[in-house]
């Protein structure tokens, strides 16, 4: 036992220094060169920080592009999905209620056109994005509330759409926070 215990303890101390002190400090040091300096990238509007670029926000107001439902109400002090199973009856009732609410707020939209992401919660509860389709389906409502022409809003969504990586990989997304900041700047 003793032949193993002493090297075990000594090796543990050495590896602790290497992997838990030196390694993270190197990463943190280099991170100072990255955007946001390793503290997260913030978004500003009207001279104040309104959020973090990567963290989604709760938008339920008809004046804004609404974000997806969230299991943690977009409070990034935590993060979680709903963990509802696909056959859970209570969950399915909740989805039905979200569909009904959406139709009330967007009377011109046909039910068959609502993308499921707008009535389902994301994995993190902090999803910053919508698909372009889920953003565009809200244009009619926002155009009416803000008295803006729909073409301008379509242009705005297109301008804020991030295509696939290198044009080749993954889905297109729209960052909802940045989109709404840009929306407020329209006149």
């Amino acid at each position: 036992m003793k032949t193993n215990l002493i090297p075990a303890i000594r090796l543990t101390v050495v590896m602790l220094i290497l992997t838990s002190v030196i390694y993270p400090l190197v990463v943190a040091g280099i991170a100072k060169l990255a955007p946001g300096g390793g503290k997260g990238v913030t978004v500003e509007a009207k001279g104040r920080v309104v959020g973090y670029a990567l963290i989604g926000q709760k938008f339920t107001d008809d004046r804004y592009f609404n974000s997806r439902p969230s299991a943690v109400e977009y409070n990034a002090a935590g993060s979680a999905g709903s963990n509802k199973g696909p056959s859970n009856p209570d969950y399915l009732k909740m989805v039905q209620a979200r569909i009904d609410t959406f139709l009330v707020h967007n009377p011109t939209v046909k039910k068959a056109d609502i993308p499921a992401e707008l009535v389902t919660a994301s994995g993190s509860g902090l999803d910053p994005d919508l698909s372009p389709a889920a953003a565009k389906i809200q244009i009619a409502r926002i155009a009416k509330v803000r008295s803006l022409p729909t073409e301008r809003l379509t242009q705005l969504v297109d301008a804020n759409t991030n295509g696939p990586l290198l044009g080749l990989f993954g889905p297109s997304t729209v960052n909802v926070l940045k989109l709404n900041v840009a929306l407020d700047q329209l006149r």
Binding site: N4, L5, P7, A8, R10, L11, T12, V14, T19, Y23, P24, V26, V27, A28, A31, P35, G36, G38, G40, V50, G51, Y52, L54, Q57, D61, Y74, N75, A77, G78, S79, S82, N83, K84, G85, P86, S87, N88, L92, A112, I114, P115, A116, E117, T120, S122, G123, S124, D127, L130, S131, P164, L165, L168, F169, G170, P171, S172, T173, V181, D184
Partner: protein, 571 residues
């Protein structure tokens, strides 16, 4: 849609393309041949000196296992104590509390065994000190333990009878300095430049555009997320793991994290081929494993893209498939791909919530963990595969009426007994554990634990059963993903899965290392025309059949009660 398919095709292609040279490199590292990282030599010598390790010492398989188990015991005690008192230690800007003894027990074991079931959430249940000093540390050393354990069996493949299997400490140290540390550094820097935090500032508070005041958890995340994937650990810095936008900011980081977690498991197969100079044998293993992965992957992608039939009946569109628990920036294809790869290898990080996956996908995730040998974790994937190999050799030997031989050594009763016990205990742990949980749920719904059994399940019916089955399967496979709706932070789940975790880790290490140690000592008989070849398609098929019979079929009844029943009820 097309760009989502090219996304996963490139992720897999890149993984294999990088795994081949990496495999060669790993072989060179452990065979002491010149390699790219020879400049680490002085650091390693310093580590040996400070650690009191004689790097020239040769160890028997028993001595190696003893060394492995002793150092693991030291880490366990260290981690347990630190988690118990983390609340009163420095580097805790958010003022998070210490863990309860049962949670600390579960968490310390969970990270020690490369599993990372997390019955806490990183934002509120850990401090910066324990994220780095316990989790980050255990992620390195547990992955290195797995790789070192694999190296302990290599000599049983070589055409020479030997009593010693190498030096555990040397394998362990090199796995960190030459493989895990450099690769983790690369991944964490990719993350940092895409927005993952890596500073020691505490939680921020923001007033949103709509006027809500919310917190934003941060911290030294990037370093830990690097080794989390490279070491097939999977424990998230944040509660939502790699679905969290700071832990996995965009599609590029998603690809990087995905490649990173599969690359060592695949490279180890090639490394083994190079080390024993039997490339065809390595290709056979790779082929069997890849076919297994594809059989799990295809049904998953189909069912996720198809969407939830119950939601389809409500009349809305599901152009991007089933979106509950998924992130828009990854989409259903990359989420489905991740969910299978992370369960076949032992990472268990998630970029979508498995609890909300379609029933067929949930079953495929479960099967991936039940097998545990399709690629598998850092090093231990091949160790799991090894006992299937031994059983396959034995059965084929009996079928053709020859003495079972494996790489020139006779496989005898003792080896078969060990392999069978390891295989059977694993199914016993999963099914026994789930049965016990279900029994408590039914008979003692009001037991006075933090979370009463009646409140354990987040979903009723068949899916609720799947939640319990998934938890024990994940614990036994040392995977760490979960159907996270399960209320698992309480006395029963913390202790029960803690024990399963320990057995599920160390039996599949002790078993194969013991078998290999016994075989390595045996007289080597050169292969002749009478030897059953173990590197062709026929034998590959045989191994595949053994895996199917031992794992898939033995779990079939449990799968029928959970995901299959849910599938048919949802149809």
């Amino acid at each position: 849609m097309f760009s989502e398919w090219t996304g996963i095709a490139v992720m897999y292609g890149l993984t294999v393309l990088l795994a081949i040279p990496l495999g060669k490199f790993i072989a060179n590292v452990f065979a002491d041949k010149p390699n790219l990282l020879d400049f680490m030599r002085p650091i390693e010598r310093l580590i040996y000196r400070l650690g009191g390790v004689d790097e020239t010492q040769e160890m028997s398989w028993k001595a190696s296992l003893l060394a492995l188990l002793t150092i693991n015991a030291v880490w366990l005690i260290y981690a347990f104590v630190l988690l118990l008192v983390q609340g009163s230690l420095p580097l805790n800007p958010d003022g998070n509390p210490s863990m309860t003894p049962d949670l600390a027990f579960n968490t310390a074991i969970s990270f020690l065994v490369n599993c990372d079931l997390q019955h806490y959430s990183g934002e509120s249940g850990a401090t910066y000190l324990t994220q780095l000093g316990v989790f980050n540390f255990l992620m390195f050393v547990s992955a290195a333990t797995g790789i070192a354990a694999l190296m302990l069996i290599v000599r049983s493949f070589l055409p020479k009878s030997v009593d010693t299997v190498g030096n555990f400490y040397v394998y362990f140290v090199k796995a960190i300095t030459r493989i895990l540390l450099p690769l983790s550094l690369v991944l964490s820097l990719v993350l940092v430049f895409n927005g993952t935090p890596a500073s020691f500032d505490g939680k921020d508070s923001v007033v949103t555009m709509q006027g809500d005041t919310v917190g934003v958890s941060r911290g030294p995340a990037a370093a830990m997320i690097g080794i989390k994937h490279i070491g097939t650990n999977g424990g998230g810095y944040f509660g939502a793991n790699s679905a969290h936008p700071l832990e996995n900011p965009n599609y590029l980081t998603n690809m990087a994290e995905m490649v990173a977690q599969v690359i060592i498991p695949i490279a180890m197969i090639f490394a083994l081929g190079f080390l024993i100079n039997r490339k065809k044998f390595a290709l056979m293993i790779y082929g069997v494993m890849t076919i297994g992965v594809l059989m799990l992957l295809v049904p998953t992608l189909i069912s996720e893209l198809h969407g939830n039939p119950a939601i389809a009946r409500m009349g809305v569109a599901q152009p991007t498939g089933a979106m509950e628990g998924k992130e828009v920036r990854f989409g259903p294809v990359a989420s489905g791909y991740w969910s299978i790869l992370t369960t076949v290898i032992s990472t268990g990080s998630v970029n979508s919530m498995h609890d909300s996956s379609m029933p067929v996908s949930g079953m495929m995730q479960l099967l991936g963990m039940m097998t545990g040998a399709f690629y598998g974790g850092c090093g231990v994937g091949i160790l799991n595969f090894y006992y299937f190999l031994i059983i396959a050799v034995f059965i084929s030997g009996l079928m053709v009426g020859r003495t079972p031989e494996f790489f020139g050594r006779k496989v005898e009763a003792r080896e078969i007994k060990i392999a069978s016990i390891v295989a059977l205990v694993s199914t016993l742990l999963v099914k026994g554990g789930t049965a016990l949980a279900a029994w408590l749920f039914v008979n003692y719904p009001e037991a006075a634990w933090t979370v009463k059994p009646s409140a354990w399940l987040n979903n009723p019916g068949y899916h609720g059963f799947s939640e319990m089955l998934y938890e024990f399967t994940s614990a036994n496979a040392n995977n760490g993903s979960g159907f996270e709706g399960l209320g698992d932070n309480n006395f029963f789940w913390n202790y029960a899965t803690g024990i399963v975790l320990l057995l599920g880790r160390f039996l599949p290490i002790i078993g194969p290392v013991a078998i290999a140690g016994l075989l390595a000592r045996k007289k080597y008989v050169p292969e002749s025309s009478g030897t059953l070849p173990t590197d062709n398609g026929t034998f590959g098929l045989m191994v595949f059949a053994v895996i199917m019979i031992i794992t898939a079929l033995s779990f079939f009844p449990a799968l029928t009660l959970g995901p299959l029943a849910e599938y048919f009820s949802l149809k």
